[in-house]
């Protein structure tokens, strides 16, 4: 990240240029007005924030009107943990469903022990109630953090998979608003899938 004249006039915590990672701190402001600090490196895991930084909009802190404080702190935790490891994260199309095939998701530089740590961190991050989980998903989507979006969506998929339609409705409180005829028609469309 080479310095431009515009950079020189902003915050005093300017970093050394010429290939070294910036220690510049970015301020992120949640929807309920709380401020959080993150390193530029971690913040840039969000493609949305990355663009704002590059467009020079980040100097006075970045307001995130869609993300409440509770969720923002979890998102920043995720970015902090994964930023150190990311090797061009957004280029790798990580497929969490490929668990036994893919030996290096975004963590190209991690040792085996570090990978295990990250996996258990990820698992505990998304082991939350549905409301929180969906808020994480919406925040990751808004902020364009692909790894976090995939992680949280995979958790929801894991809660759905291999369950019967009734069980899924129960877990997610989905109301069956089909008429009897409609429901029969849907089941007939792909009868092979409904041998439950």
């Amino acid at each position: 990240m080479a310095a431009t004249p515009a950079d020189a006039s902003s915050s005093s915590s300017e970093a050394v240029v010429g290939g070294e990672k910036s220690n510049k701190m970015i301020t992120l402001i949640s929807s309920d007005g709380e401020s959080f600090e993150a390193t530029e490196e971690a913040a840039k895991m969000s493609v949305t924030i990355k663009h704002m930084i590059e467009d020079g909009c980040a100097d006075d802190g970045i307001p995130l009107p869609n993300v409440p404080a509770k969720i923002l702190s979890m998102v920043i935790e995720y970015c902090n943990k994964h930023a150190a490891d990311a090797d061009d994260t957004n280029k790798h199309v990580a497929d969490p469903a490929d668990a036994d095939e893919d030996d290096d998701n975004n963590n190209n530089n991690a040792s085996a022990g570090e990978k295990e740590d990250l996996k258990s961190f990820d698992a505990s991050l998304v082991a939350v109630d549905q409301a929180t989980l969906f808020d994480i998903i919406l925040a990751a989507n808004f902020l364009s953090i692909k790894g976090l979006l995939d992680l949280a969506c995979q958790k929801v998929a894991d809660d759905i998979k291999d369950k019967s339609v009734e069980e899924v409705r129960e877990i997610f409180k989905i109301e069956n608003d089909f008429t009897k005829e409609e429901e029969e028609a849907v089941r007939k469309e792909n009868a092979w899938a409904f041998n439950e």
Partner: protein, 267 residues
Amino acid sequence: MAAAAALPVAKTAPDLPEMDLISSLPGEILSIIISLLPIGSAVRTTSLSRRWRPLWRSSPLNLDISHIDGCGRDRAAAVSKILSDHPGPARRFLTACLQITDPDGWLGSPALRDLQEIDFWLPRYEIPMPLSILRFAATLRVARFGNCRFFEYDAPPSFNFPCLEKLTMRFIFVREDTLHCLLDGCPVLESLLLDRCHGFYYMVINSLTLKRIGTNGGRHGCQLVIENAPRLEKLIRTDLHPESTIRLIKAPKLEIFGFMTDDFTKL
């Protein structure tokens, strides 16, 4: 992740919401979630509610045939139904467990448009890989081919796989010139596995991106030459033919170089 799926509903009762939150997520997000489901679960989401009915057809198709219950004929019938039902695009199409009677028919299906990951086995070894597989060349990231003769024409077709990161070939006959044409057409390839393939006696690796190479067996010896592979970290050969050799010219990052007796596929 397996643990989460095994929890009985009663145990997660404290976490059950009071109202339906999931259905108010944006359609694009529900599409991501559905596309991560095994095919049976994905199709069954159509019967959750009216909101959910159209969502499977507008999420990228994730079709791993091994997740369909039943005998070969039932599975083939289910796949034909799915391919005629889904408008595409597709993310994944894994067929390794099935004898495919109509490879061209399936590969030409609009449902498989923009396919990213494929695992495709021909029913008999003498059969050539259908040309229609090249339809996915522009979008494939992961490809596993098996049990066929690979493009045995006088002049190999021009291979252009701009996104292909992982290539596995099993029980395949491929000529030397075709193989090299193929490798030349994979500018971002990171992982290459050749398992019990033959037809080439000499393989030169010249790749700026390859990180892992594995070869297993073969009916005849093969000389493998690593001419220039600046990112190569692992090179593993198993079940070597006595006449096989390796010549390392330039692989500055090579850490693992050896022979394995098992777990070849975990390279």
